[in-house]
Amino acid sequence: MTSTFTQKNNIIRFVYAETTVAENEILMQALLIDDELYDFYMKCAFTKESIDKMEFEPSNKCITNILNYSKKVSLQVAS
């Protein structure tokens, strides 16, 4: 019998796609019969998705500065 602690850690690995196909089968079965585990899975998946959607962009100036630096270094290497 797998402990709740281990099951929840496995769910975290499952949410982040780090489980094997065989583990997925076992976890899917567990989720079908364990309401508390299912609720935990849904909350984790929801929160992960929220974080995934939070992305920021640097300014074009920042990107241009980096590209210019790279070109400068390339010229130094070539000369």
Partner: protein, 200 residues
């Protein structure tokens, strides 16, 4: 001509041979992830952009001097460097700075959105800011594992090794990070369901 579908390793190989376009593709591919890693920690656009440039100066110098270790993924290496620089900066300042952005009004102009109304953008900005602030309130070990997993794309095993703990500790920290964030989301009742999960 460099194709966008080349792998990071292939782009790095072209770049080492002097192809600047390959580097540009690599930079544009990973800029959001690396910048987000930094910005989520320092919360200041100017500082984040300075650190972003510092990270890439280091990256360029390491690659150009032939010291880049091709084992492992580029994004993990770069994000880890970004994370460490941002943490160093935070520790030097000993506080989280007030959000400082270009025009004072458009506080969230660094967020990336496409084909949305002004109102959509405003609400998403508020939602993302709220979530980012919630992440800041997590205990450092939880915040660290969350940022490493999301932005550095490190596996839990890799995070465990990098932070010197067992994988179970690493998973436990992530578990508490997600549970705590979820509680904060429920408490503040921000508009996640409506705006983050709307199908485009």
């Amino acid at each position: 001509m460099i194709k966008n579908n080349l792998s990071d390793a292939e782009l790095l190989s072209h770049y080492k041979q002097g192809n600047e376009k390959a580097f540009e593709v690599l930079l544009r591919r990973h800029k959001s992830k690396i910048y987000s890693t930094i910005f989520t920690i320092v919360k200041d656009q100017y500082v984040a952009e300075d650190l972003m440039q510092d990270v890439f100066i280091k990256i360029i110098d390491i690659i150009r001097s032939g010291r880049y270790n091709e084992e492992g993924k580029f994004i993990q290496w770069a994000s880890r460097m970004a994370h460490n620089l941002a943490i160093d900066n935070f520790r030097r300042n000993k506080r989280y700075p007030t959000i400082v952005l270009e025009d004072g009004m458009n506080v969230f102009n660094s967020l990336h959105f496409a084909e949305e109304t002004v109102e959509d953008v405003r609400i998403k900005n508020e939602t993302h800011t709220s979530l980012r602030n919630m992440i800041q309130t997590l205990p450092e070990p939880q915040r660290e594992v969350l940022l490493m997993r999301h932005y550095a794309e490190m596996s839990f095993q890799e995070i465990a090794e990098a932070t010197g703990v067992s994988i179970n500790t690493s998973l436990g920290r992530m578990r508490y990070a997600l549970i705590n964030l979820r509680k904060l989301i429920e408490k503040t009742n921000v508009a996640y369901d409506q705006y983050l999960y709307a199908e485009k």
